[in-house]
Symmetry: C2
Subunit: 393 residues, 2 copies
């Protein structure tokens, strides 16, 4: 028996390989994670919200519901998109999905034909690339600087490549670099893409975890042509185990997403959608998000402080204003993959940055996560890693 | 902006159109549903199981887990596949999915190239066909009789069409006909398909709801070459709102399904997987399934009794030994779609049978559901429908 041609285009995740290595060494201080801190889940409130749900509306929660999603949750999301993102929308713009990843998969299914070009930031989240791979697109990267995607490079690429179909971006506290796009860059980006027939897939799981600087509107809020498909998620601001996320897009796209979701899994679980709704109705998620912001800020600040003190000065680093990651650039001659085994041996793990490039990437970069490590682990781990780096210089 | 070529192959569901019509008339007695009876969910036990889960393992339940699924649930399923289906398997054969529908979508993604042939029973569940449509296969139907798929027709089709890639079947209490395949037919089917390089996609959501006759092993239990991909689900035997189902297949296929699921939605919700596990660990699902069987048997028997009494004798019907549906065949000159509006006007709804054909189907068939109607509704509804039919003869 043979798989479809599509399957020959898939590729094993480099991140998984690292995480398997780490799993064998439970004492390792891991900066390799991509998870929110489970200790920050509002566990008691989630339990109360779940009990209230089962007491008041249990039978419905265990039943089939609509493919589009649970109505009251959609209404809440319409309100949140307006209040928090400045996006004017109605129910017709929203569809509930099972985690942002499902939004990436649906976008790939809906838009990508073989030979189409998918543009991503260089580097970017590989989960999006992997969702597209089966459909056989060509991947192209556009470099980013501290302000966001480099517009001149993007414009040149668009001019030279009429088959660009989709541009995938994470403008807020990007995975893996932790950087956020400036307002000016966002405006320029939208101005450029509005001249082309392309879809912008805006992935925003971290946007609400801003712990420094000013709020910057999403690309969707600057979208006048309905070409931005926005993905939001409760995984990082509440908890990931319920898999509740949403698409906000033009009615035409939202409705096609609903149609396709019906073929994919009929609907997201009514129970978990109603759990999130019950939590939002009975508790103050904004107060909870503040706690996440403050905790991650402390850890990020501490990590930066330790990096300045213990890393060789030739190691460059990003300074995140939110989210879960920062990004290291080692001197060009160093290979983060080669150093990793030694680092793990010494008791520290990270993800080599070349895992985040659709095509070839530089070997001297590293993604560091600070959300699932204690302050003590950050102090100790960064010192160890500094020593490992020094030995290679 | 334009959708992928794939999207031009999709097709709106005829069932949805009927269900929208009915939604406008809440007093209609609906035999059009495809749902288990929500009044049969073991609501108190599910609530207790959920509370125990949150008290004992809450943080894990709200967290990310493995793409393959929650380990203890996989272990239970290995045991159930052996005990209830006679299928020898290990953890390597199982992957948890979000409803059987996701299994259909993953099979389509994994196996179907453009121009491949997908064979289904005539008629069959359109959700499977619709999951395949985007990938551009050719659909062919093989007729079924009271014993199952007509083997001679299947064999001829396989001989004449080397591009058959997948055969989709529901051997137990099929949706829409309610029929179950005999053991002998299953053996012959497996004997034939084992000579061809084809995947058998065995969809078994209703198998445990047998309320008459003897247990018959699944095709997977008769599969010596690892060509059967089996889909099981808790939606009909426990509740559908948690979206917990599973694939049982060769390790190679199960592992590819896991890889692809990672690109589709990372994982099914840890919470709902652990809810089902907690229920299975603390309560007796077999006792609960007995209640479902007895209730559906009563309703099915009553519907058959009323059909014999009130339908014109020229209307043929299947006599289900389990599941949720029976199938009507009206005289050839009648069109179930044309009669439907009049039936709804008179207070009764059903699904016209031509909705269940991948290509053209006969116009004189009807799917009847007996699981979400009361005995009183069955008595009244069948009488009304009998009158409507008579007016057309």
């Amino acid at each position: 028996m043979s798989f479809s041609i599509r399957m020959s285009r898939t590729k094993a995740s480099g991140i998984r390989a690292v995480q398997k290595k780490i799993a064998l060494k439970p004492d390792v201080i891991s900066f390799a994670a991509g998870l929110p801190d489970p200790n920050l889940y509002p566990l008691e409130d989630l339990k109360t919200a779940t009990d209230l749900l089962m007491d008041n509306d249990g039978r419905k929660a265990f039943s089939y519901g609509l493919t589009k999603g649970y109505g009251p949750l959609i209404d809440i999301l319409v309100g949140r998109m307006k209040a928090k993102e400045g996006v004017e929308c109605t129910r017709d713009n929203i569809a509930i999905i099972s985690g942002s990843q499902q939004g990436l998969a649906l976008a790939a299914l809906m838009f990508i034909d073989e030979g189409d070009i998918v543009v991503a930031e260089n580097p970017s989240y590989l989960g999006a690339i992997n969702a597209c791979r089966p459909y056989g697109p060509v991947f192209m990267g556009v470099d980013t600087d501290d302000e966001g995607m480099v517009i001149e490079d993007l414009e040149q690429l668009l001019q030279e490549n009429p088959r660009v179909k989709m541009i995938y971006v994470i403008p807020n506290f990007q995975n893996p670099t932790g950087r956020a796009w400036s307002l000016e860059r966002r405006k320029k980006f939208m101005e450029v893409v509005s001249r082309y027939d392309v879809i912008v897939l805006e992935d925003n799981p971290y946007g609400e975890i801003r712990f420094k600087g000013e709020f910057v509107p999403s690309l969707k809020a600057l979208d006048t042509k309905g070409q931005v498909v926005y993905l939001g998620s409760f995984s990082k601001i509440l908890c990931p185990g319920l898999r509740v996320a949403w698409i906000c897009a033009s009615p035409e796209i939202a409705s096609m997403a609903e149609c396709m979701k019906e073929t994919q899994d009929l609907q997201s679980p009514e129970f978990t959608q109603m759990q999130v709704t019950s939590y939002l109705n009975h508790f103050d998620i904004e107060a909870h998000i503040k706690i996440i912001q403050e905790t991650y800020k402390k850890r990020s600040d501490l990590m930066l402080e330790m990096i300045r003190e213990y890393f060789p000065p030739s190691v460059k680093y990003t300074e995140p204003e939110g989210g879960m990651f920062l990004w290291l650039e080692l001197p060009k001659e160093l290979d983060a993959n080669e150093i990793l085994d030694e680092a793990i041996e010494a008791g520290v793990a990270y993800i080599p940055g070349d895992s985040f490039y659709a095509n070839e990437g530089p070997k001297n970069t590293i993604r560091m996560n600070y959300t699932t490590v204690s302050e003590e682990q950050i102090r100790k781990g960064i010192q160890i890693l500094g020593d490992v780096f020094r030995r290679h210089m």
